[in-house]
């Protein structure tokens, strides 16, 4: 028997309403039991979780693993391992590779590389349109059969409203969500940061908040009209969050995600032209960040996404206009949000854990996110009191482009189990 007993931790499974001091028994890679005083008989190994939080492994609905085509930035292997180091047991990989993941063969490649990676599970998303060109639909049925869990043109708005409508309708046949970068591309034009007083002072081209609002409004209307499943990626404005809140009240099938950097940072950070703060959508105002935190707390935004976007150091070491958008996030997301949102009283720990596991698992229809017996034993063990400093040199990711360099944080993932096996363990911990 390959039983593992995780003994004596604070077991939090928000989806099941569990928050108790107790044990988790894993058998054959699945959760066998959760409770106080479970016996170690039959368990081959015992993991002492005293003082630790034991929770469902995190699920990231949005990570760029960059392979094929951008292996200099990240590979599926390095990305899946970085994910495990951040407490993620599953990530949804974006199809904006080169070539794009837009057919069954490329979906199969990503899934197979993911299985070999020995890190978090990798669930590929496939492109909505062939080559992400916004012209012709990909074969949703074929890519879904090959393992794609969602379709998205990742980072590009589907400009044609007709194509977006067809995508939402057609995806219903396979019950997969359409993940959408919602932005009016014409209005956003070539903006490199949030349009406002900071962009004015710096002389950088602005990306107006209203571009996102219009993009979200269109896709919500299309989702409502078609009954399709829409997942709004990385919401960044207060107005967009409010549109989503109202749509959910009307019963529109919409879920939404937000990144740690949009929750915690604002456009003032761009002062000094730090390219590590160049992300898309851009960092917005303090009022936007506050509204996003409220939307995450009230469940309007049901998941945290990292939008992990690795960039090679010399790509970011350029003049601001020339540097690419993107920030890594897999290895810092939990600690940052635990430090700033849980200690800050915005969310309780169980709520944060829920937004990082059950929320995204439900939004994307993935298996993890809860510790119900019979589910895959995807688990994270967290030392909630451990203080550490974000040091990009420690990342397992191939890239170091974090906007949180040197940030002092509290709470650290010490072990991640995927299917009952330890996928990552913090050095020096049992």
């Amino acid at each position: 028997m390959s039983g593992v007993l995780i003994r004596g931790g604070r077991v939090v499974d928000a989806a099941a309403g569990t928050d108790l001091e107790g044990d988790v028994l894993v058998e054959r890679g699945r959760i066998a039991a959760v409770g106080a005083g479970l016996g170690a008989e039959g368990a081959e190994a015992v993991i002492d979780a005293a003082g630790l939080v034991v929770a469902p492994g995190f699920v990231d609905p949005h990570a760029h693993l960059c392979e094929p085509g951008w292996e200099r930035r990240e590979t599926i292997r390095s990305g899946a391992r970085a994910a495990a180091a951040g407490g993620y047991a599953a990530v949804c990989s974006m199809p904006d590779t080169d070539p794009a993941v837009d057919d069954p063969a490329s979906v199969g490649f990503v899934a197979a590389e993911g299985r070999r990676a020995g890190g978090a599970r990798v669930f590929p998303a496939a492109a909505v349109s062939v080559g992400r060109k916004g012209e012709r639909l990909t074969e949703f049925g074929e890519v879904a059969a090959a393992g794609a869990v969602a379709v998205t043109d990742a980072g590009r708005t589907v400009k044609s409203s007709t194509l977006m409508r067809i995508a939402l309708e057609y995806a219903r046949s396979f019950d997969i969500p359409v993940l959408a970068h919602c932005e009016d591309a014409d209005l956003a034009r070539n903006g490199v940061m949030h349009e406002g007083v900071v962009s004015t002072r710096l002389g950088l081209r602005g990306r107006p908040a209203v571009a996102e609002e219009i993009g979200v409004a269109r896709d919500l209307a299309l989702a409502e009209a078609t009954g399709g499943r829409l997942h709004v990626q990385r919401v960044s404005t207060a107005a967009a969050a409010d549109l989503i809140r109202r749509a959910r009240r009307r019963g529109v099938r919409v879920t939404a995600e937000v990144t740690p950097h949009h929750l915690l940072l604002t456009h003032e950070r761009l002062d000094g032209y730090g390219t590590e703060y160049k992300v898309n959508p851009p960092l917005r105002t303090g009022a936007d960040a506050e509204a996003l935190r409220a939307a995450l707390a009230d469940g309007t935004i049901c998941c945290v996404a990292t939008d992990h976007a690795p960039r090679h150091y010399d790509e970011k070491e350029q003049a601001f206009d020339d540097a690419p958008f993107g920030a890594v996030g897999l290895e810092t997301a939990f600690a940052l949000l635990h430090t700033r949102l849980v200690a800050g009283g915005v969310l309780t720990l169980p709520e944060l854990l829920e937004r990082m596991s059950a929320g995204p698992a439900r939004a994307l229809g993935l298996p993890g996110g809860t510790l119900e017996p019979g589910r895959p034993a995807d688990l994270v063990l967290i030392d909630p009191g451990m203080e550490w400093t974000v040091d990009a040199a420690d990342f397992l990711s191939r890239s170091r482009n974090t906007p949180f360099r040197g940030e002092k944080v509290t709470g650290r993932v010490v072990r991640t189990l995927v299917g009952g096996k330890t996928a990552w363990k913090l050095a020096g911990r049992q």
Binding site: G196, L202, G206, D321
Partner: protein, 323 residues
């Protein structure tokens, strides 16, 4: 004067990082250099042995020539690197260009680049003094300084002076440097132009906004008229140059309705008949050529101060009669 060698720090990336005193030191230091331009032997030895690279990623005629004259009149050795026909056009990144300059032990780099923040980027990566000759829509500090010097020459003061910047403020680095500098020196600043060309939150930089040029003319002591790039029409910010001239152009008729005598500045190059009419540009209100003359003096002052020259010793330039 208390000016020290480090009066400006290592670089001039913009007027925003400078204090009012630092700006005054530059303006005061420019005074003795003005005279040299009028002399038979237009040369002083203050930067003898210094090597300066004029690194222009973006085409420029007047700024590059003005810097080159300033450098040569201070006896520096200069090299011009343009975007066309150099490694810059072969895809070399800014940081590689910087490292190559560093390896050649250049004393100073004058840089123009299309990207906002490029001068500060370079300044942070090389030990040479870096002077921003225009970075995207961010700053053009020597243009701001020469505009301010021209205003001070004419009015004898800057405190309380009302200056309105007219035109395409959105894309203008000249506008930003003027606003930063003038606000620090106690002038009152306004902007005027079509709303499509006024950037978000400009009021928070300390500028009031006039929607109509008639209001600006009535309010201001001086107008700094910005060039309207022809691309702006192609990009749809204004429907036509003809309409722009009719609604926002600085015409003699408009100036005649001003309560006082307005001073007209323009950073050039001008689009005659678009943002400014010829009879204004060539008329008695205009100090446009005076700006060009002051440009050389201001750039000499900046080069001299960044090279470690003491402000009070710049006076020696007056007495230098050439070898």
């Amino acid at each position: 004067m208390s000016g020290t060698a480090a009066a400006l720090g290592k670089d001039l990336t913009g007027l925003e990082p400078l204090s009012a005193d630092q700006i005054r030191v530059i303006l005061d230091t420019a005074e003795p250099f003005k005279e040299i331009t009028g002399r038979r032997v237009k040369k002083v030895p203050m930067l003898r042995g210094k090597t300066i690279v004029n690194l222009f990623f973006e085409a420029s005629t007047r700024t590059r020539i003005s810097f080159e004259f300033a450098e040569k009149r201070l006896s520096a050795d200069t090299v011009n690197v343009g975007a066309v026909g150099s490694s810059v056009s072969k895809g070399e990144t800014l940081v590689d260009t910087a490292r190559n300059l560093e390896a050649m032990s250049i004393d100073m780099v004058v840089v123009r680049h299309w990207s906002a923040g490029a001068a500060a980027f370079l300044a942070a990566r090389i030990p040479s003094n870096v002077i921003n000759a225009g970075d995207g829509a961010h700053e053009h500090p020597t243009q701001g300084l020469l505009d301010i010097l021209t205003l001070r020459d004419h009015f004898g003061r800057l405190e309380g002076l009302r200056v309105c910047i007219v035109g395409d403020v959105l894309h203008s680095r000249v506008a930003r440097s003027n606003i930063y500098g003038l606000v620090k020196l106690g002038a009152r600043v306004a902007v005027c132009g079509p709303r499509t060309l006024l950037p978000a939150g400009i009021e928070e930089m300390g500028a009031r906004v006039f929607g109509r040029v008639e209001e600006a003319v009535e309010w201001a002591d001086a107008l700094n008229v910005l060039r309207l790039q022809l691309e702006r029409m192609q990009d749809g910010f204004v429907p036509s140059l003809r309409e722009y001239n009719r609604v926002f152009g600085i015409t003699r008729e408009r100036l005649e309705r001003a309560p006082g005598r307005l001073l007209i500045l323009h950073p050039g190059p001008m689009n005659r008949g678009v943002e400014i009419d010829s009879d204004v540009a060539d008329g008695p209100h205009s100090v446009i050529l005076r700006q060009v003359t002051n440009g050389v003096a201001v750039r000499m002052a900046v080069l001299y101060l960044l090279a470690g020259g003491a402000p009070h010793l710049a006076e020696a330039a007056r007495d230098w009669t050439g070898a």
